[in-house]
Amino acid sequence: MSPRRMEDVPEPGPLRSGEFLVLASLQRAPLHGYGISQAVRDRTSGRVRLRPGNLYRVLDRLLERGLIELADRKPARDRDDQRRTYYRLTPQGRRTLAMEAELLADVALEVISLSPAKA
């Protein structure tokens, strides 16, 4: 692991959409990279596809901010994927995800209520 993790204090700040989606995909259970990219695709009905390089840069940032961490224990059903690294939410990641979701929900509700198609 690169040494810079030790010095950097997690900085609070808004989540980018990729970061939000990755956090959301980890809400139920720890996942590995491929699992996360599948989960993101499924959750967004195939509209968002995180490219591998981008996915790992997002993971790198989330690790750095202390929102996710490496999961030691891997789910038993994924026996095939034992050699892959699994990630899970930290308590802070969980809180941040919830706050961000609430914020987005508020905005989304207001948008829907004002949209002409609905009126």
């Binding site: 690169s2 810079r4 010095e7 390089g53 790992y56």
Partner: protein, 877 residues
């Protein structure tokens, strides 16, 4: 990274290619995520075609790899910046020091670049040649006559477009107060050959030089701005200059002008003297400056060989026009060299000084960085323990170094920006190219280069001694007991002292040389006197009687003023660095010169009867001029003491005769006056022959008045007196004699001030460095000192021990600096006056100053020893 990061059981995807792609990511990233990334790529391979897969994977790796690299650099910067913010005192000191070092270098480089490095601002300007017709072996240029210009133009195949220029002044009337206009009289192709085009209007055409055509002028850019406010409407308007109306046809761009700055330019036919037969048809009527462009493929050497051949040929063809005594020979010098020659030694000394200052600054900043590294010991130890790689730590140090040096560089640039006007003023005393000095892209690039280099040195220096084993060394530095860095810091101090000493010697030599210059006697009384230039309109005063009438009226009028004790007119004023260009060989009666030899060359100086009294030049022997010394009465002259010595040795010069025209007419010596610094305080003085003003036609007059009260108040009266006699008479350059003296010293004074400032900066930076290192050493040895004190050592003895430790470094630095200064000070020999480059007084004094400052900066931290309480020190063990 390890090979197995890719995974060994990937399906038939080309693992090697994949591994190469992963190299787009930074190493740390690759180490951490490489294996998983490869897995992900493998998953993609299963879901895509071969081509689609490679295209997409390559795009992904290039894009995200670069982004990851950038964000890792950004992270280093953020981290570095945070570290610097945490210790604002340290950061401020370092930034200020760096700003001084880089700012000084930027400023000096901008001058060197504008003056010496850049090509002349004419297209192909590096092929423009200034032709000289040298008199004998002396470095004197006789110039060319119009007939000679025509011959060289026709015969020199290695030159293209041989063009001439000479200087005149005119009186510009009808635009407010009458103005003296410095005029360059040039061949019509002059600006075409230089490659200069007017920024407004048109240039000269061959028609403009046809005799009898309506006179036209081109305006110089500076004159256009200064006198006419840069009004573009002036093109097409008319100028009344002397008695003629000239039409302004264009405005020239801003350019370095040589041999002198001109206000306006006109073609040769517009100058009544140049178009008079006695000039244009007289091969001996020399004095024109001549320029040419090297023909395509021609070199300066070839041109010079050809010029020598032509001058031999002309001498053979017109023997009576080339007096054998003068041995005229023509040659060419690149205009670029000639424009910058005078500035070269000063600028190189300044560049070297600024460079040394930067070295000291670097050493000091490196020292501070090392000290800080030690304070960051715990943090570094943690990072090393956590497995920070060598490269990673090095990169962090480098980033911090660069961050500091770039910020310092930006501040330095700002400092250079604010000092630019001063620098241009400074450079203008040495070269007409001064106004080309700017802070442009080239200077910015230089500053960036210096900043980056400084940053790299700062970042790499702490790691330098441990190139082989950085980790062990860093651990050593990081541990409070580590000693490696103390050695390095001691070494830096030695270097700083050595370089400071060299700089101080440079400044010291300049200072002493300036004091010597300052104390030189001018030979005249500079107090309570005012001078002015009174350039008579030569159309209005076309002959000697009219000139003399004006002169007498003016002097009578001024003598009647109770505030003025005496007044005089002359052809030139002393301390005129270029001389007045009015000089001649003399023949001494009864002392014929050998064939091919010329008599002594003297400066000619016209003076009214009261000149010597007004200037305060003592008469040594004989008499001064009287009102009776007029052209039609007798030819008389007064010689300076040195001319008397050169021409007549120890014999009495009174009554002896000398001739300026090969014995056709003779001038009888009536008096000897004491020597005056005619050409500047530092110059060796030529012999001066004074002639009565009333004996030679001369319109470019200098007025000198001596007053009972401080002189500057007299300016109004002076102007009033002149305008009462002739309201159209310009009065310019009103100055006191002491101002004249001070101006003549401005170039050495400014060089001296700059060197002293640089040296003072170097000294204070070094003193701070010594104090810092010693303070650290004391804090490291607190326990040891505590034990010594507890065992009964006297505090005074311990203090001495610590002082010795500091002064030992200073002594070594001083010795090295001594050798360096001895070698380098020779380079500034040409800037010195009256002292040798190895002047022992300067060396001793500078060593004294440096030792005193070093003692003080050792004493301050060493004094802490006295306050160490043995009990406390021992308890801390």
């Amino acid at each position: 990274m390890s090979d197995n990061a890719i995974g060994n059981d990937s399906p038939p995807v080309n693992r090697r290619a994949l591994r190469i792609l992963l190299h787009f990511y930074p190493r740390g990233f690759r180490e951490q995520y490489g294996r998983d990334l490869a897995e992900l790529y493998r998953d993609e391979y299963a879901s895509r075609g071969r081509l689609g897969f490679w295209l997409s994977v390559t795009g992904d790796a290039v894009w995200n790899g670069t982004a990851a690299r950038l964000s890792s650099v950004a992270q280093d910067i953020r981290y570095g910046a945070r570290g610097l913010r945490k210790s604002p005192g340290f950061t401020a000191v370092i930034l200020l020091t760096l700003a001084l070092g880089i700012g000084a270098n930027t400023a000096i480089f901008s001058v060197i670049d504008g003056v010496l490095l850049r090509p002349l601002p004419y297209p192909g300007g590096d092929r423009i040649v200034h032709l000289r017709q040298n008199i004998g072996k002396a470095d004197l240029n006789a110039g060319f006559s119009p007939l000679e210009v025509a011959d060289y133009r026709a015969q020199a195949s290695s030159l293209r477009g041989v063009v001439e220029q000479h200087s005149m002044y005119f009186t510009l009337l009808g635009r407010g107060e009458p103005m003296r206009v410095q005029t360059g009289v040039v061949s019509w192709q002059f600006f075409d050959i230089l490659g200069v085009r007017p920024i407004l209007g048109r240039g000269f055409a061959d028609d403009d030089e046809r005799p009898g055509i309506a006179p036209v002028v081109l305006l110089g850019n500076e004159f256009w701005h200064r006198a006419l406010g840069g009004d573009p409407g002036v093109v097409g308007s008319t100028f009344v200059m002397n008695d003629k109306v000239h039409t302004v046809i264009g405005i020239l761009p801003s350019l370095p002008q040589y041999p002198r700055e001109q206000d306006v330019y006109m073609p040769t036919t517009a100058c009544p003297f140049r178009s008079a037969e006695k000039w244009y048809a007289n091969r001996q009527a020399r004095g024109l400056s001549v320029f040419a462009r090297l023909a395509d493929g021609a070199t300066l050497e070839r041109a010079n060989r050809e010029l020598a051949t032509i001058s031999d040929r002309l001498r053979a063809e017109y023997p009576k026009d080339y007096a054998s005594a003068e041995r005229l020979s023509s040659s060419g010098v690149l205009l670029r060299e000639e424009l910058t020659q005078k500035s070269r030694p000063t600028l190189f000394v300044l560049l070297a000084t600024a460079g040394f200052l930067l070295l000291i600054v670097c050493a000091n900043v490196a020292n501070l960085t090392l000290a800080r590294l030690t304070r960051r010991g715990r943090e570094l130890s943690v990072r090393i323990a956590l497995g920070a790689t060598r490269g990673r730590l090095f990169r962090q140090l480098l980033t911090e170094g660069l961050l500091l040096s770039l910020l310092g560089g930006a501040m330095g640039l700002a400092m250079a920006h604010f000092s630019l006007d001063l620098l241009v003023d400074f450079a203008a005393r040495f070269t007409p190219r001064a106004r080309e000095v700017t802070l442009d892209a080239r200077v910015l690039l230089f500053t960036l280069g210096v900043s980056v280099a400084t940053g790299v040195v700062l970042g790499a220096l702490p790691a330098l001694p441990a190139r082989l084993d950085l980790m062990t060394w860093l651990k050593d530095v990081a541990s409070p007991a580590g000693r490696s860095h103390l050695k390095l810091r001691a070494l830096l101090i030695v270097a700083q002292v050595a370089v400071s000493f060299t700089l101080l010697i440079g400044a010291g030599l300049m200072l002493r040389s300036f004091v010597k210059l300052q104390s030189m006697s001018t030979g005249f009384d500079t107090e309570n006197s005012l001078t002015a230039e009174v350039p008579l309109n030569w159309t209005k005063y076309p002959d000697l009687p009219k000139e003399t009438a004006f002169e007498n009226r003016l002097l009578d009028r001024l003598r009647g003023d109770p505030a003025i004790s005496s007044a005089a007119l002359s052809s030139t004023l002393p301390l005129n660095q270029n001389g007045n260009g009015f000089n001649s060989d003399i023949q001494i009666e009864g002392k014929p010169t050998a064939p091919g030899e010329a008599g002594p060359r003297v400066d000619l100086h016209l003076a009214s009867p009261d000149y010597f009294r007004t200037m305060g030049i003592p008469l040594i022997h004989g008499r001064v001029f009287t009102a009776d010394d007029r052209q039609e009465v007798a030819s008389v002259g007064i010689v300076s003491q040195s001319l008397a010595r050169i021409a007549f040795g120890s014999t009495d010069p009174l009554g002896r005769r000398i001739s300026l025209d090969d014995g056709k007419t003779w001038i009888s010596i009536e008096g000897v006056v004491s020597d005056v610094t005619e050409r500047g305080l530092a110059d060796t003085q030529p012999g001066v022959l004074y002639l009565p003003l009333a004996s030679v036609p001369w319109t470019s007059l200098r007025l000198i008045v001596r007053s009972l009260a401080p002189a500057p108040a007299l300016e109004k009266q002076l102007r009033a007196a002149i305008h009462e006699i002739d309201p159209d008479q310009p009065v310019t350059a009103v100055r006191t004699l002491s101002e004249l003296r001070s101006e003549s010293l401005s170039a050495p004074r400014l060089t001296m001030v700059l060197l002293v400032i640089f040296a003072a900066l170097a000294l204070s930076v070094t003193a701070a460095g010594i104090a810092g290192v010693l303070a650290y050493a004391v804090s490291q040895r607190t326990q040891e000192i505590g034990i010594r004190l507890a065992l009964g050592a006297a505090p005074g003895t311990v203090l001495q021990m610590v002082m010795r430790q500091g002064m030992a470094l200073v002594a070594v630095g001083l010795l090295l600096g001594f050798a360096g200064a001895l070698a380098l000070s020779r380079l500034m020999e040409s800037l010195l006056f009256g002292i040798a480059a190895s002047d022992p007084v300067t060396f001793a004094a500078v060593a004294g100053v440096l030792l005193a400052v070093a003692l003080l900066s050792c004493f301050v931290p060493a004094r802490r020893v006295m306050s160490i309480d043995p009990q406390v020190a021992l308890r801390a063990t």
